[in-house]
């Protein structure tokens, strides 16, 4: 579904992405793991077209994203730090997004809006919101249009445990519907029950892309966090 081919991106001297090639298919739930500054967010942003890569190309549904912008209607994106127009209210943001993205046959998925009780906060301006509430708005927006692909950048960072659990359940629910889900997170324990595949990145390079079962047998560890730790140790030695 999403194919990245030898994608490279430089920010000044820093190589944010170095010849990254990935193939992601429907029904997979992929964890993007790597240390800070390893290029995870840049990879996500290039897939969304927010960052334009220097080399290589990305196709979504066999269409090069450079010449096609419709593909984004199939993607729900939850940014790491949600930045919204400061003097708009939550209600206005939701209405605006519905206005821009809605098609006649679209069924809106307002599960998260209800679960996070955003309906009670519709008149609040974005600048008055706490970081956690912002994350809730981002999450609700990502799921709102029933997209085939969900890209979640640090989805549970800043959320309280109850809301984080709600979000995780929602992710699992969408996974069972056969959607492609890309998650980055540093809290590996919470990825355990979600992901089917792992991509490990370091210094802008993609080190491996493996099935989680393969990873478990190779490292002999059941838990994802332990397995990754074993791999990281092996790499540094």
């Amino acid at each position: 579904m999403i194919i990245a081919n030898n994608v490279s991106k430089k920010f000044g001297k820093l190589k944010a992405l170095d010849n990254v090639s990935v193939t992601c298919n429907k029904g997979e739930c992929i964890a993007l793991i790597g240390p800070n500054g390893s290029g995870k967010t840049t990879l996500i942003k290039t897939i969304l077209g927010m960052v334009v890569c220097d080399n290589g190309f990305i196709t979504v549904n066999e269409k090069n994203i450079l010449h096609d912008w419709h593909y984004r209607s199939n993607i729900g994106y939850m940014p790491q730090i949600g930045r919204y127009p400061e003097n708009m209210t939550i209600g206005q943001i939701l209405d605006m997004m519905k206005d821009i993205r809605s098609k006649n046959d679209h069924i809106l998925d307002e599960d998260l809006v209800q679960q996070f009780k955003l309906n009670e906060l519709l008149d609040k301006r974005m600048r008055t919101l706490s970081g956690g509430t912002r994350q809730k708005v981002s999450a609700a927006l990502a799921f709102l249009f029933n997209p085939d692909v969900l890209i979640l950048d640090e989805p549970t960072a800043g959320l309280d445990p109850v809301s984080a659990e709600m979000l995780k359940e929602k992710i699992i629910k969408e996974k069972t519907k056969g959607k492609l889900i890309l998650v980055t997170s540093h809290i590996l324990s919470e990825l355990d029950e979600l992901v089917t595949q792992v991509i490990y990145m370091q210094d802008g390079q993609l080190h491996f892309h493996k099935d989680i079962a393969t990873l478990r047998t190779e490292t002999g560890q059941q838990k994802l966090s332990k397995a990754i730790a074993t791999v990281m140790l092996k790499m540094s030695s």
């Binding site: 077209g49 960052v51 334009v52 912008w69 984004r72 993607i75 930045r83 919204y84 821009i100 993205r101």
Partner: protein, 255 residues
């Protein structure tokens, strides 16, 4: 595209600065027309104020607005929208509201007190100047990431077009006083939309005699209908070129 323009316009029209700008223009133009018994003279006084204020407000307001809507751009860039649509909508929204403010503030008094061809040219060039400086501001903001630096460049650009350019032209004129520069001056004046508008309006006012021999040359070029058409085209180029360059840059910009 219409939807985004709608959101941009709603956002700007709620802005108090826009209201203040309209009221300011309205007060100035009404008081000038009421103070002068000859409304043609009033037009001349208004001309100088418009040529200073309109470009300044346009370039400053739009560059600050674009920097402040960085979040808006980022949010919408991840949505199924073309980058070009997004950028052009911001442009249309900002220039639409500035043109509206100018029209209400200065256009209506002009139409009331001086509905002559000169008045119409003044109205037209005021509108064109608003749009031109939005377009220039869009180019400056897309090239410069840092907000403080970008706004500084916007102010410098305004300074260049309204003061420095004239100084440079004067300098060249004195340096090359021995050569026949009259025709070259016509070409040079095309390089500055503010000067071009000033010349257009002054020529329509029939006070070109005050400009001496160069004034006669100007009259030959700009006084005719084809000259008017040409300068209109040049003003249009001043809108299109910076905007086109900024769209190209924005299409490949990392948000």
């Amino acid at each position: 595209m219409k939807k985004i323009i709608k959101y941009v316009m709603i956002d700007i029209l709620r802005n108090k600065i826009m209201l203040a700008y309209t009221v300011f223009l309205l007060l100035i133009s009404l008081s000038i027309f009421n103070l002068e018994d000859n409304s043609a003279k009033g037009l001349l006084s208004l001309l100088n104020i418009i040529l200073i204020v309109v470009p300044l407000v346009s370039i400053l307001f739009s560059s600050i607005y674009v920097y402040n809507s960085a979040e808006f751009l980022e949010l919408l860039a991840s949505q199924p929208l073309k980058r070009r649509t997004l950028w052009l909508s911001i442009f249309s929204g900002v220039s639409g509201s500035l043109v509206l403010a100018f029209f209400v503030g200065a256009g209506i008094p002009i139409l009331l007190y001086e509905p002559t061809p000169t008045g119409f040219i003044m109205l037209g060039s005021g509108i064109m100047l608003s749009v031109i400086f939005v377009s220039v501001a869009m180019l400056a903001t897309v090239k410069i990431r840092d907000k403080a630096k970008g706004i500084g460049v916007a102010i410098l650009l305004w300074l260049y077009f309204s003061l420095l350019f004239d100084g440079l032209v004067m300098f060249l004129l004195f340096q090359f006083a021995d050569y026949p520069l009259d025709k070259a001056m016509v070409a040079v004046s095309l390089l500055n939309p503010i000067d071009l508008s000033r010349i257009l309006i002054l020529l329509k006012m029939d006070i070109s005699a005050m400009m001496g021999y160069t004034g006669a040359i100007f009259k030959n070029y700009f006084g005719t209908n084809s000259g008017l058409l040409l300068s209109g085209m040049v003003l249009l180029m001043w809108v299109v070129m910076p905007l086109w360059l900024s769209v190209r840059k924005f299409n490949r910009k990392d948000l």
